[in-house]
Amino acid sequence: MKILSRIRVSSGSMDNADRLSQSLAKDFMRSLIHCEDLWKVYRVGDVEVQALRGVDLAIGRGEFVAIMGASGSGKSTLMNILGCLDYPTRGRYWLDGLDVAGAKPDELADLRNRRIGFVFQNFNLIPRTSALENAQLPLFYRGLSLKEQRAQAGAALERVGLIGREHHYPTQLSGGQQQRVAIARALVGSPAILFADEPTGNLDTESSREILAILERLNREDRMTIIVVTHESDVAAGASRRIVIRDGRVHEDQPTVQQSSVPG
């Protein structure tokens, strides 16, 4: 029995290896995100929670991907790992050809700083700090001079239509404006990917439409890769590809209707 099961396991990993080599050949070089058999296992007391159970995923440059799924499906866990905020328990992950699973915490911090921008549901702006300074933050940790930080942050705020609000504090801005500051902060460092976690979850319909329009424009005009995590289908509608996560696995992965309008 034991021998049999071991054979089965090894043959399974052979399958994995085959799949890996196939996908390597297919899209490793041009993929921005490439992960193989990602697992994330938490321990809550004695209970083992398998948040991710072998996710294989490849996302190319310039894609606009919506990751959907019910709460508890593992989509947030997946985003945390893809966003280099967390390590997978098992599996491999390459971001822009760099091995993330084997990187040190400081290397992850640098990856987030240079290649990733985050937009959160609750904006997560630093309180009592001006819009401009919030937008400067990634450049601050990149060690740029204050002058350069200001110039680039100002340009980023301009791109999201917040001219004249540079010196407003978050409390002086509406929800939609705060989220636009957050987008400016995410794109100020010219990252390869922008992750948006329920970006319209705390906004009214009008503001939501504005935010989605900005994201779509960034994808269309600047060819920025955008990954939106959401459970709202109208948010996902703007994306070119829809990935549904269920029980820690990719349940569904297909282009959305508008795919034809997006080049590449």
Binding site: L85, D106, A109, R112, N124, I126, Y141, R185
Partner: protein, 411 residues
């Protein structure tokens, strides 16, 4: 990196200015601690300098030999109770010990002093000619005894400032006048420059000096001719004092025919010993006050740590955001360390100002001498930075070790 540090300091200052009340209260412990240290050290050093000045007023490199206690059947008399030192001892010491530049002797008694219709009770001291030089007495008017005065047991006196104040009207010239010591008239030939308090707190200027021979024969009377109240000796250099003391002890033991098992029948003191006792007292005080100040600094440091821990908790989400946009652990660590050091440094600077003002006020109000030392200020300054670093390290480390995901999700 310098740009980062500068901006972090600016951020820290802004964070602190957001919560002025809280920052102020947090700094209070450091402020009090540093102010206490500065004030204490200033007062302590002032006191020590005053002691040193008193000790120096005894004369430089002086050795004092006092007659010892008598022991009769195990009952010991007080110091000076025995008549064991003589002029001959003094002369012999000078002859036998080349280290000694001079020796002198003195005997004192308290007599009524009378000038016209004023009188005063004060100590009268019969002295050898060398006494005045050994003890570094200077004159404001007149001059010392002559050898002739000594040989002839002349009735001439040299008086101190306190005596002048008590026997003469202001502006009256004592030199040339005649005063009575007991019932014997004396001509005043000199007035001494003031010395102030002795290390023991006695008024050194309440004094009348007369020639030793005069005192012995015409004023005090004596059972043993040539016995003295104290012997004085001086050395060229203060480094020689210890050796000189040992040689004096050896010579006196030999002259007094003391057997090895017998104790000295005299006591030798130097101004170094006396100064040490006094400085020891003020040092004990300084150490105690320093301990109190250290406790205050410690409490201040714990206050900073406490507030920073609160701050780290309050700003968990902010820390998460900073990590998400690429802050490394060391960036977060430095941010909170700089906040801690800023708190303790500003507190320290305020404390230094209060301490200096406090020391000055002590001098003005209480009249205590204070010396504001740059050392103390530098020490307090670096101490407050050190406290900020030490007590900031734990909260800063706690912040830096936060998991970005949990920090972002923190409510």
């Amino acid at each position: 990196m310098p740009a980062f540090v500068l901006l972090t300091i600016m951020t820290a200052l802004r964070v602190l200015s957001r919560n002025r009340m809280r920052a102020g209260l947090t700094m209070l412990g450091i402020v009090i601690g540093v102010a206490a240290v500065i004030a204490m050290v200033s007062i302590g050093q002032g006191a020590r300098a005053a002691v040193r000045a008193q000790v120096a007023s005894m004369g430089t490199n002086v050795i004092i030999v006092l007659p010892g206690a008598t022991t009769v059947g195990g009952v010991r008399g007080g110091q000076g109770g025995a008549v064991t030192l003589t002029i001959a001892d003094g002369l012999d010491l000078k002859k036998r010990i080349p280290l000694l530049t001079d020796t002198g002797w003195a005997r004192r008694d308290v007599l009524q002093l009378v000038n016209a219709n004023r009188n005063w009770n004060g100590p009268v001291t019969g002295i050898s000619p060398s006494y005045l030089t050994i003890r570094d007495w200077l004159f404001t008017s007149g001059g010392p005894f002559t050898q002739f005065d000594l040989d002839s047991a002349a009735r001439v006196a040299i008086i101190g400032q306190t005596t002048v104040e008590n026997l003469y009207d202001p502006g009256e010239e004592p030199v040339g006048s005649t005063i009575r010591l007991g019932n014997v008239p004396f001509r005043v030939i000199g007035v001494l420059a003031p010395k102030g308090q002795s290390a023991q707190g006695a008024d050194q200027d309440d004094i009348v000096f007369i020639p030793f021979s005069t005192a012995e024969r015409k004023v005090f009377g004596t059972h043993f001719l040539g016995s003295v109240g104290a012997l004085f000796a001086s050395t060229e250099r203060s480094d020689d004092l210890i050796e000189a003391v040992e040689e004096i002890r050896a010579v006196l033991r030999m002259r007094h025919r003391l057997q090895p098992e017998q104790a000295d029948d005299f006591t030798i003191r130097t101004q170094v010993d006396i100064g040490k006792i006094q400085e020891g007292t003020s040092q004990t005080l300084t150490v105690m006050l320093f301990a109190v100040a250290s406790v205050s600094l410690l409490v201040g440091g714990i206050g900073i740590m406490n507030i920073l821990l609160v701050s780290v908790t309050e700003r968990t989400r902010e820390i998460g955001v900073r990590m998400a946009v690429g802050a490394r652990r060391k960036h977060i660590l430095m941010q909170f360390l700089i906040e801690a050091v800023t708190l303790s440094l500003v507190g320290g600077l305020i404390g230094i100002v209060i301490g200096v003002v406090g020391a000055r006020m002590t001098t003005i109000v209480a009249g205590w001498p204070t010396i504001i030392s740059l050392d103390a200020i530098a020490t307090a300054f670096s101490f407050s930075v050190g406290i900020g670093l030490f007590f900031g390290l734990y909260p800063a480390n706690k912040a830096a070790r936060l998991n970005p995901i949990e920090a972002l999700r923190y409510e």
